[in-house]
């Protein structure tokens, strides 16, 4: 299959290309950018005039709910949602049921995902057995089975000695450890940012220091062990400041935020909107602005969807009883574009936060467009408006605070390994 993508605005943050250029694809690879190679006869010509052509998006956190949680969503539905959102590679956290703590589970998941021929799936292995925070998993075995890094997901790891050993062991093999920084004692029972809104609504709060205290513990243990750590889902101003300083000191730390946190704050809970029940909680406007500043100056490397499809039965409950999480795969691009427009960030930087930078976090030779590389592409109209409705979303998770809002940015084509896996 040879594809000629014609007339698009090609943006590749890695090489700095941002101009109208054609792309030529053959045998799953990009073969040329600009002029057609000799003897190139396209089987298909994709008209990309007025559209942006960029590397396929790499989502650092999308829950596919398999194995074990298929009542919320299935691999089939969520992989469709991924490519509909322009996502060609995604990382899934190990908080399935059972957790991804055995090679067999990881192999099965990858096998199932591969057979769907849609986005590429990179599982995170559980850092501790059953995510209980006590005994280490067989990380080397899990790595051989396809785990790209190791994580506790949102499960607590209270014992600092276990964390120290986990970091030592992982770094022995050069594995990165992904941690969502939260002190589980300070966060206990909390469901919302411990501030003005939670106080007014009588919701149990999670103080901002639950995050910063956890980060300080992690950073100190990184110095102790030399481990590489990716901090997941920052939410506070102090957290961003600490990571900025750690990077300045040269610690091998990276971090991301969920795209919703670039927009929403505690205020959006309104009168108990359980679609705003997320982990970590939406915090104050001051915190949100600090996250945006971190995206601009590169303290925050990547934006992810933190996709968590939740069925209505688990979401339509009184706020604290509802299951946390937002659907995100199909909102990742439009919400990132919204941030970029509001912040004056420019398309190349916005796209970098979704492609080049997450690829760097993963140490993957992806997230860029160059001859010889796999043809994973996203082609989108940055200005087309669409309304977020349950019908418009392919994901089985319809849980979003952006329900019924119009967003700009519509994916037109998604290509994985030179195949058109989605077109609208």
């Amino acid at each position: 299959m040879k594809i000629h993508i014609r007339g698009g605005r090609l943006i590749d943050p890695k090489s700095g290309i941002d101009e109208q250029r054609d792309a030529f694809i053959a045998a799953g690879k990009v073969v040329a950018l600009g002029d057609a190679p000799a003897d190139f006869h396209a089987n298909r010509v994709v008209d990309a005039s007025g559209l942006v052509v960029c590397p396929g998006l790499i989502d650092l956190s999308a829950r596919l709910r398999e194995p074990g949680l298929e009542y919320m969503a299935t691999l089939e539905s969520e992989m469709q949602a991924a490519v509909a959102g322009g996502v060609t590679s995604l990382v899934c956290p190990p908080d399935t049921d059972p957790p991804l703590d055995e090679p067999g589970l990881v192999e099965m998941l990858r096998h199932r995902a591969r057979n769907l021929h849609q986005a590429r799936v990179f599982p995170l292995g559980a850092l501790t057995q059953k995510l209980e925070g006590q005994r280490l998993t067989e990380m080397a075995e899990l790595h051989d089975a396809g785990c790209i890094a190791f994580s506790q997901a949102d499960a607590p790891l209270t014992d600092s000695n276990v964390l120290l050993r986990a970091l030592q062991y992982a770094s022995t093999f050069g594995f990165t450890v992904w941690l969502r920084p939260q002190d589980s004692f300070l966060a206990r029972d909390g469901v919302a940012h411990d501030g003005e809104v939670a106080s007014r609504l009588g919701l149990a709060g999670i103080p901002a220091c639950a995050e910063s205290i956890a980060i300080s513990r992690i950073l100190l243990l990184m110095k102790e062990t030399g481990a590489r750590v990716h901090l997941c889902r920052l939410s506070t101003r102090d957290g961003v400041d600490m990571v900025r300083e750690a990077k300045r000191q040269g610690l091998p730390v990276t971090c991301d935020i969920g795209v919703h946190h670039a927009h929403l704050s505690e205020m959006d809970i309104g009168y108990f909107d359980s679609n705003c029940h997320v982990i970590p909680p939406f915090r104050s406007l001051r915190d949100r602005d600090a996250l945006r500043a971190g995206l601009m100056d590169g303290t925050i490397d990547a934006i992810c969807s933190d996709h968590a499809p939740v069925d209505d039965d688990a979401k339509f409950l009184p706020f604290a009883e509802s299951e946390a999480g937002v659907t995100g795969l199909e909102l990742l691009l439009p919400l990132t574009l919204k941030w970029a427009r509001e912040a004056g960030a420019g398309l190349p930087l916005a796209i970098a936060r979704l492609t080049t930078e997450p690829a760097r976090v993963l140490s993957l030779n992806k997230g860029m467009l160059a001859p010889g590389l796999n043809a994973d592409l996203c082609i989108f109209d940055p200005d087309e408006l669409w309304k977020v409705t349950p019908r418009a979303l392919k994901s089985l998770g319809k849980n979003t605070p952006f329900q019924n809002m119009e967003l700009a940015g519509k994916v037109k084509y998604t290509l994985v390994e030179g195949h058109v896996v989605y077109e609208s």
Binding site: L203, G205, Y271, P318, N404
Partner: protein
């Protein structure tokens, strides 16, 4: 998001459709409820304590959390309005069978309910139910988690107005476990809305919610300082379970620092009134001498509570769909 940010208590005519929280209601609405309550006080003093305003209406007391006092006062209020009252204690029955709150509500709605009086342990439960019921059904929040207890807040305002006549010249102190108190939140909203210029909260830092001053109150950690020259002292109930965690060391130490005694009360104005939403823990937050003393209006609060609940139910039943 837009729907959830609209005030869900008011219908399109600006009338009260549900009573879920005091927050967001104007002073005019609050005064209207208090004035209506005033007209019902006399009903309770008659020999035949009934008016036919809600004849033929079915009111369901939907208590997902046990309560005797509040449920009883709602029941009495509904009966004095000639409504049919059905009491349901849900935690014992369907919740344990895995039936969801919404299933329960849908089933009762199918039995032609006109009004739900809801008590639930989760903040926001009354909002949640109000959002899902048919438009002809009214929801009254009888206490949801730590969030709100609007009829208690209103009966407290009624009591204050009864004894102090005006709000605009008062100093009011609320003492105790504000963090866990839905009553305190409703009182604070009501007092600030009705124009009380100085609302104080007095508590140790462990019992105050984050950024509480954003609700328009002044914070005092020292009780004698906080009580100085106040017109109204509102004591909050301190639950025994608070002593089990790291919030407080002991009931004895709490009483020493934050219990209301005659000595401390003497720092308030000489005509200050003492209120408590009940049930009281004598010797923990309040000394018996004070609770039963001449400045205590704790029992009149209960009496006014019936009139206020009658007012709320009759106003809701009278609003257009």
């Amino acid at each position: 998001m837009a729907f959830l940010n609209r005030n869900p208590q008011l219908n399109q005519h600006g009338e009260l459709q549900h009573l879920l929280t005091i927050e967001g209601l104007g002073a005019g609405m609050l005064r209207h409820i208090l004035d209506t309550a005033e007209s019902f006080v006399s009903v309770s003093e008659r020999e035949v304590k009934k008016v036919p305003l809600l004849r033929g209406k079915s009111i369901f007391n939907l208590f997902f959390e046990p309560s005797t006092r509040t449920r009883t006062t709602f029941e009495i209020a509904a009966k004095r309005l000639s409504a049919d009252v059905i009491n349901l204690n849900i935690n014992a029955s369907s919740q344990s069978k895995g039936e969801t709150v919404l299933d329960t509500v849908d089933n009762l709605a199918a039995m032609q309910a006109d009004m739900f009086i809801v008590r639930h342990a989760e903040s926001g439960a009354a909002h949640f139910i109000a959002r899902h019921v048919a438009p002809h059904i009214h929801v009254v929040n009888a206490g949801d988690g730590r969030h709100a207890h609007p009829t208690q807040g209103l009966l407290d305002m009624y009591t204050i107005r009864h004894y102090k006549k005006e709000f605009h010249n008062l100093r009011v102190a609320i003492v105790g476990d504000v963090l866990h108190s839905r009553v305190a939140r409703s009182q604070i909203h009501a007092l600030t809305t009705l124009g009380v210029p100085e609302v104080r909260v007095i508590a140790p830092k462990t019992l105050l919610p984050a950024e509480v001053e954003r609700m328009g109150v002044q914070v005092y950690y020292d009780m004698p300082q906080g009580l100085k020259d106040v017109d109204v002292v509102i004591m909050l109930r301190l639950q025994n379970e608070r002593m089990r965690g790291a919030l407080l060391p002991s009931a004895q130490e709490y009483f020493k620092s934050y219990g209301l005694t005659q000595d401390k009360l003497a720092l308030a104005k000489s005509d200050a009134i003492v209120m408590h939403p009940g049930p009281m823990n004598r010797g923990v937050e309040i000394d018996s001498d004070v609770a039963d003393g001449t400045q205590s209006v704790i029992l009149p609060q209960v009496t006014f509570g019936i009139a206020v609940r009658m007012a709320v139910m009759s106003i809701l039943a009278g609003s257009k769909q």
